[in-house]
Assembly symmetry: C2
Homo-oligomer: 420 residues x 2
Amino acid sequence: MAAEGGEKWILTVTAQTPTNIAVIKYWGKRDEDLILPINDSISVTLDPDHLCTTTSVAVSPSFTHDRMWLNGKEVSLSGGRYQNCLRELRSRASDFEDEKKGIKITKKDWEKLHVHVVSYNNFPTAAGLASSAAGLACLVFSLAKLMNVKEDHSKLSAIARQGSGSACRSLYGGFVKWIMGKEQDGSDSIAVQLTDEKHWEDLVIIIAVVSSRQKETSSTSGMRETVETSELIKHRAQEVVPIRTIKMEEAIAKRDFPAFARLACADSNQFHAVCLDTLPLIFYMNDTSHKIISCVEKWNRHEGLPQVAYTFDAGPNAVLISHNRKAATLLLQRLLYYFPPQSDTDLDSYVIGDKTILKDAGIHEMKDVEALSPPPETKDNTQRNKGDVSYFICTRPGRGPIVLTDESRSLINPETGFPK
Amino acid sequence: MAAEGGEKWILTVTAQTPTNIAVIKYWGKRDEDLILPINDSISVTLDPDHLCTTTSVAVSPSFTHDRMWLNGKEVSLSGGRYQNCLRELRSRASDFEDEKKGIKITKKDWEKLHVHVVSYNNFPTAAGLASSAAGLACLVFSLAKLMNVKEDHSKLSAIARQGSGSACRSLYGGFVKWIMGKEQDGSDSIAVQLTDEKHWEDLVIIIAVVSSRQKETSSTSGMRETVETSELIKHRAQEVVPIRTIKMEEAIAKRDFPAFARLACADSNQFHAVCLDTLPLIFYMNDTSHKIISCVEKWNRHEGLPQVAYTFDAGPNAVLISHNRKAATLLLQRLLYYFPPQSDTDLDSYVIGDKTILKDAGIHEMKDVEALSPPPETKDNTQRNKGDVSYFICTRPGRGPIVLTDESRSLINPETGFPK
């Protein structure tokens, strides 16, 4: 292996992978180890400029075992899911040669060589924003590049799926479908791209990160309990989702926003419904989530046609998908009216991501938030719920994973092989 | 009609009818006018000493039209549901004669005579405690007595059902089943008693009346929207509830509390699940409801066997059914630990109904509430949620409707025929 003379070379790759949010939800596995779902799901990939994972991976004969650092802290790679991904990738690794650096790695060498993984999310890990989806997708994508794995993105998605189910959908930009597959070995349970991120460029996405004091049920144990105890989940998976998936694909293909919004909201609701139908019951939405839905529904009804769709994952955060920039501007005004920040919060950290929407909404400083008038669809003098939302992220549909060739963006010190 | 000479006689009847809480829920109609449900339901009747409606009805040739007063305010009887009940009762009225008072009313007279109805709930009407069930049942029961209707309680339940669906279950004490029926005219959609209130005397019921700021969806429009838009409700009504009803009847017959608790909780959860699966979605439970469920689930898990079952109707209030008095005492300590009253509330108005449970719990004054230690199943120092609950009602399974013969309890002035 390696170059002659036991040189301490280090080979690195850095990649960036987006997060995604399901508009037809994945909830329930038919195989816990391989992470095979009981229904298809569809997601929109979020712009990595605002929400993404950056991962640097390195290999060196000097590394003594596989190690990983996430957001500055070392984490264990011994979990079955990480191990499954590493094993799958190693078995698909190819010969690699860099004559200039004198590095030569054969397919067989990869079985013995150890890797270092350094990963960083540009958004809070604990905020319930599918950080594991972006993280596992980035781990698999960057290691595949490092190990010269020659499989296409769909094949890689089947590996990422074994790390974290929804990670498979982060291998593509735009709208992505995770096909549940039929095979027992999971080989056909892969993600495919429905449309790229240019197809429906009008969409604007605002995420409300909701303050939560309650401990949430992890999605892994939650979906297992739903499959074991809900009397409705089977009906959902077998009868409802197959039809809904076809309709959602049509709505996306035609950029039919009213149909898209109806389906996305209905499917988010149904996912939370089967959670409630679980014993012990699971609730992810809280009173603030409910207030956000009321705000959206009141406005949609007032306008006659849906201006915005909502969807909630396994937590209280709202993901609000606006028809276009105009609608997003009006939505942001409403959100800031109903959910102003605590007095000690500054606007710059309260609305993050694409801040141009804030400017379009005519909001430049905190007193503009205070001066907002109640939306016309509000009949009574609705309470402003200060502090119920931690912050908002303005974003849009975005691209799939990329390799970052600029070495200054690597998270690994090229001399030591450890985090910078 | 009446006695000779146009005498101004007034004939009155006063009755008391309990409220009831479903443990297998009614949600969804197959006929809106006749109020025919899409599934059977099962309820427990609550002790009228703590929650009931008292209604006095009067008839007199001097009354010029049908009038009703509820909790001191006149309300209109012109609604279709009241009219349906009045029409059905009048068509079944029989001859009545009181020789001493010189009153003679023939079957035909009832078509022309007008009635006055005065009704009073011994609990807050707006608290979401099935006041309409008790109210309509009492209206029908008391008018049936006044009009000498000779039908049995099951036949009367079919009339009360047309006033408010769940009212039909308030015609009996103990555990009651509303059989959905098959006939188009609703004649077989009636309530029957499963067991009387003596059968399972151990049960103790604590109701947490939860403070709510949000306007709730009325159950009438809510269930219509669920039937129209939920993809899960049909499966629930046709596949889940029929099996669950049989199991619940068995659990009640055998006084099998673990089975009873599991079924009651699961069915409450599923009712709220189909509400969430509605477009626009319906949420009745709030963060406080969720906290109460967590408290109950944590304790049940700690004990190994369920000590208490929870069920929620179309609102945030929790109805907690304890296995026995011991469990109720321990439950009340937990509830008062997690949900102490506001500082300006006195204990006497915070825990109402059967106050002996409070004494058994060793709580005599407010400082005993303050001094409560965290329950052993609480690992972390759980927050005490002051003010989240408005008050608690301690009660038990109770008897069906009765006529109150003591004239001093009549709500109608026997001289004027108007509210006292």
